[in-house]
């Protein structure tokens, strides 16, 4: 490595920590040539002029032919190119490192012939590169709140960020102060496990749903139940409030999700189409307004006006138990036992897989900084960088003293509104609060990331 050009000396620093891959001299020389070209010579927007002498080398290992029909990739290419042009340096080189190996060699041969007759433009462009994940501070446990007598199943944080509510298997709903972790109030009324809680941003109401088919609306000024929404045929597993319309959506074990008008308690729409328990539901102001994930391993995007399915996403192999909507982007993450998938709105186009958390994922939450948290049934929490899908931390908190080791599992997790605290509801009857470790820096907790040189896995 050291006898190659000056450019390489910066890169060698990294290679100390990794296994040195053995390549032939030809490969090494070629790579360095390519990198030099990228760094100093190449203008990526301009197509490379067809130089017959070096045609075979470059074309075979470097270029991808762009047909007029695939215009999307061009657009994508531009964005990335902007990014890569601004961020020069070690990272840049690193990013480009895997380029040489990735070109589809057999493609080029067939397309060469096609290119001659079809009058397509040969645009030599960069191969898709792996972007580097953004560094995030690791999260650590800083408070354990115990007080519930059953599994804590759900969490909701008040819009003013003063307190949060939890619903548990001991059929109570408890309100805790966020700053100190002290119990403020206990509400009883459910006759079975409370599976979902939500606090309204537009009125002083708290909504709760339970395995006893009840959906209750609590008035927080009087701490009393004022409304019941009757209609579900089986246990209600989750609920969510629409951010702008006074509408409540609940999902249940009877394979339906129901849309309720809050004031009149009328069941506006019954969203049927799933064939198994609907485990999770999310609402947003933009299209599609309702998203549900079900145990039949599908996700459905619904049209709230018509009450019909807009799109069905069948990519998952196991039940989808968790959904998370990104607060800034128009994207969605869905968690299942096989892997976590990211999608765009409004049509549900698949973006990428986040694999590595090989457990039943019960809960997910996203930060504005791009931190995705997935909490599993075995008590492990994985923290991911949203954009690249890099898992930067794994936490498995110890159970409360007195609990068995098998009593570790996470049923709900939520960021507070300042996005600095992560609150998790656990199976050892405690609520754990995590915060970012302020003392950690990029050097103390480096990103242990290797760009994938192999072809990206198809699922």
């Amino acid at each position: 490595m050291t006898d190659i050009a000056v450019v390489e000396s910066n890169v060698s620093v990294y290679f100390i920590f990794q296994d040195v891959q053995k390549h032939s001299v030809h490969t090494l020389v070629f790579r360095s040539l390519k990198r030099t070209h990228d760094m100093f010579v190449a203008d990526h927007a301009k197509p490379v002029s067809l130089d017959e002498t070096r045609y075979s080398c470059f074309v075979k290992q470097y270029a991808v032919f762009v047909l007029p029909s695939t215009s999307i990739s061009l657009r994508v290419c531009n964005c990335r190119l902007d990014a890569s042009r601004t961020a020069a340096g070690v990272g840049d080189i690193h990013r480009n490192a895997g380029g040489a190996e990735r070109s589809p060699a057999p493609h080029s041969h067939s397309l060469l012939e096609g290119g001659a007759t079809k009058n397509s433009s040969l645009v030599a462009r960069k191969n898709p590169t792996m972007p580097k994940p953004q560094w995030h501070a690791p999260w650590k446990l800083f408070r354990v709140i115990s007080g519930h007598l059953g599994w804590v199943r759900s969490i909701a944080v008040e819009p003013g960020n003063q307190w949060f509510v939890t619903g548990a298997g001991d059929r109570t709903i408890k309100i805790w102060d966020l700053a100190s972790g002290k119990l403020k109030l206990s509400l009883t009324g459910h006759i079975s496990t409370v599976r979902g809680v939500a606090v309204s941003t537009r009125s002083p109401y708290l909504f709760s749903c339970g395995e006893d088919k009840q959906v209750k609306c609590w008035d927080l000024e009087y701490n009393k139940v004022i409304r019941h929404y009757h209609g579900h045929l089986s246990a209600v597993y989750d609920l969510d409030l629409h951010p702008t319309i006074d509408v409540l959506v609940t999902c249940s074990r009877d394979a339906t999700a129901r849309v309720w008008d809050i004031r009149s308690k009328a069941n506006v729409h019954t969203l049927s189409g799933h064939t198994n328990t609907v485990a999770t539901v999310r609402c947003q102001a933009a299209e599609p307004q309702i998203i549900t994930g079900s145990h039949d391993s599908t996700i459905r995007l619904w049209d709230l006006i018509a009450g019909k399915t807009r799109a069905t996403l069948t990519n998952h192999k196991k039940s989808v138990r968790a959904l998370a909507l990104h607060p800034r982007q128009y994207t969605l993450a869905s968690g299942s036992a096989d892997n976590i998938k990211q999608w765009t709105f409004p049509d549900g186009n698949f973006i990428q897989n986040l694999s590595g958390h090989n457990a039943i994922i019960n809960a997910m939450a996203v930060n504005s900084d791009g931190v995705l948290v997935s909490g599993a049934d075995n008590g492990t929490i994985h923290l991911w960088d949203w954009r690249t899908g890099y898992n930067f931390q794994r936490i498995h908190a110890a159970v409360q003293p007195g609990s068995l080791d098998s009593e570790s599992g996470i049923f709900a997790c939520m960021f507070d509104h300042s996005e600095s605290r992560l609150i998790t509801a656990e199976a050892d009857k405690t609520i754990k609060v995590y915060k970012e470790d302020d003392t950690a820096t990029e050097e103390s907790h480096p990103i242990n990331w290797k760009p994938e040189i192999l072809k990206r896995k198809r699922f």
Binding site: A266, A285, I305, T314
Partner: protein, 540 residues
Amino acid sequence: MSACSFLPAPTQLSQDQLESEERARAQRSHSTALVSSRREPPPYGYRKSWVPRSLEDFGDGGAFPEIHVAQFPLEMGRKKKTSNALAVQVDAEGKIKYDAIARQGQGKDKVIFSKYTDLLPKEVLNDDAPELQKPDEEAVKELTEKTRDALMKQVSQKIAAAMPVRAADKQAPAQYIRYTPSQQGVAFNSGAKQRVIRMVEMQKDPMEPPRFKINKKIPRGPPSPPAPVMHSPSRKMTVKEQQEWKIPPCISNWKNAKGYTIPLDKRLAADGRGLQTVHINENFAKLAEALYIADRKAREAVEMRAQVEKKMAQKEKEKKEEKLRELAQMARDRRAGIKGHGGDKEDGEARERDEIRHDRRKERQHDRNISRAAPDKRSKLQRDQDRDVSELIALGQPNPRASSEAQYDQRLFNQSKGMDSGFAGGEDEMYNVYDQPFRRGSDMAQNIYRPTKSSDKDMYGDDLDTLIRTTSRSHNKFVPDREFSGTDHGPRRDGPVQFEEDPFGLDKFLEEAKQHGGSKRPSTSRGSKDYDHDKKRRKE
């Protein structure tokens, strides 16, 4: 054109070329013929042996009823084999639309993912890529408004359906339409060219009950076609993995519903009794020993204490006795000293008598002392009065029986009761041996004054019955002066029905017979019994 001349003629023609040839042929045929030949069916009457076989044979008419052959003019009437096969569709670029199957029931705008590229991961985009941005505020607001209106409409419909009857809602004002009919003429519309139509919404009766029955249950329609599955089929399970998930059948220690006979080792397999050795903590033994020791020590301590106390008590007693003896001795000495000199001369008998006198005086003194000292203490007489009979017997007190008459066994009395009256069937509770109590002590009842019936006869007169009876018949107040002639002065009536004196003496006869048959006992009670039975029967 030049190139075509060199090349050999094509063996297969493309679609366009075929069409152009066809057109050319048609043109040529048009140009040479004077009359275009169209095959007309033969006119009516000349169709005897003619059968229409092809579509052109029908001309522009229909089937021929006089020709008895199945005819399908314009291909009408043929039984089409319906198949639900989709016709192959091609999109704008000429590629076959393979997802037409998946899109069968949906609109063409519906988002359905069916291509392989849909499940490929896309490129990781920058955060500010346009695809990832949320739609802007205005669009969102507009959508919110639209949604809210739609939902409100739904909700109001639902609520109105549940609300009670209200006043009839106002109808929209009448609409006027100017209509120009297509058929015009003097006859239609009485010559006018146009009509004006007034359209009014029909009033809905607010009290009208629902017109249609909605309680019919119909089966649900088929669901929308399933979405194509966008993942590889789940991997085949290896034998090893299947073995891992095998769960052995449950052999209960309590229930055996089908009555299977299960070998003993299988029965105990899940129990694990033989596998573990029971470990008992050694502290149990220590505890037992400690308790034993403690018990023994306690007993010893108690014994020792008891012994010591006994000794102490004995010593005390001896001391006291000594003291008393000394005192007695002193007293005796004093007394002997005072009296002393005369009494020594007498002999034994006098001394004995003296001793007896002495004792008696002592006793009297003792009693006097006691009565003086404890006046609450009862005297002997009082004590004997309150004693129980068993105590008196135990003390051997004499029986203060007043009379000396013989005491009879009570069983001798009341002989008229019959054979089974005396022994009373072995009843133990009944104590009927004696007729008078054993010791009739001082009965308070006897001492209580009880006035007899006839104490003050001269003051107050006798009681009523004796008065009635004893007053002389002639001056009896309750006997009429002049009686009825038919009054019966026979035996007094005892009941509502009076039995006549039997003329034949049957009763007497029967009584005698019974007497002789049984023991010689007066049967007055039995007779009275019969009488009672008869009385009762009559009453009923």
